[in-house]
Symmetry: C2
Subunit: 133 residues, 2 copies
Amino acid sequence: MVASVAVTRGMDRDSQAANGLPLAEHHLLAVLGEGPDTGIRPTDLAAASTLTKSGLTRAVDRLESAGLIERRECPSDGRGQLIALTAKGRQVLRRAAPEFFRAIARHFADHLTEPEIETITGVFERIAAAGRA
Amino acid sequence: MVASVAVTRGMDRDSQAANGLPLAEHHLLAVLGEGPDTGIRPTDLAAASTLTKSGLTRAVDRLESAGLIERRECPSDGRGQLIALTAKGRQVLRRAAPEFFRAIARHFADHLTEPEIETITGVFERIAAAGRA
DNA sequence: ACGAGTTAATTGTACCAGCAACTACCAGCC
DNA sequence: GGCTGGTAGTTGCTGGTACAATTAACTCGT
């Protein structure tokens, strides 16, 4: 718990310093950047992030006001929507990426050996998957 | 990030269900339980927990109102104080401990093999120490 | 084709956390 | 001894998050 908070807080500071975005919101952009260009459903985005659905709604509100993402209608489900990066959002993400990876290194990866990283990656994926179930 | 949030949220739910205390507050009791009976300085307690100094002040307020801990004057520093468990706090902690360990197993340890646990314990300790520096 | 039950997303509310500013106290130096 | 710089803990304030209840739309059985 202490370690995870230390990493999260350090990353959050760096993220804010780099592009003014809290870590959670930067992470949303990153997830969107890896997804299809058509966008991602809010529920899926919440599951891939650290937010609940309600938290996601507010975060999307903020990012939309900032012009970094947009809500599109979902063609296959009238209730739903698709969240997608705008051109500006894509640009912000690309610009911030190098510093973001450096921050990961500084706060986390640099403390680990190569085999430790492999072990931990597997463990974290298993736990995240279990949390989703 | 996703994995750590999953574990933390799961543990928090279980902690609240078990003794009505949020995970962060239960954790404070646990840290106090492992420390000397004379108590721990707030600054040290904050460093050993997931809270900042200001967050710790409020958490201590709540736990003190609940009668689980008490603030004592610090003999060696007139500004400072010593936070210590009350008898009631010790009792609550002892009663909740078994379920707390089961929760750790359920949400975290059961997903890992024995060597993975050893690796991760070392890594987390290193990172927590780096965060303290 | 219609209704019951389910799921997607939002909103009202309450709470918790952090930052920055503040007060009180300590320590070291002249 | 008194002054200067630093440390311990608290408080005003703001913002973010979750929970629970709500609205709208989908799905399946008949």
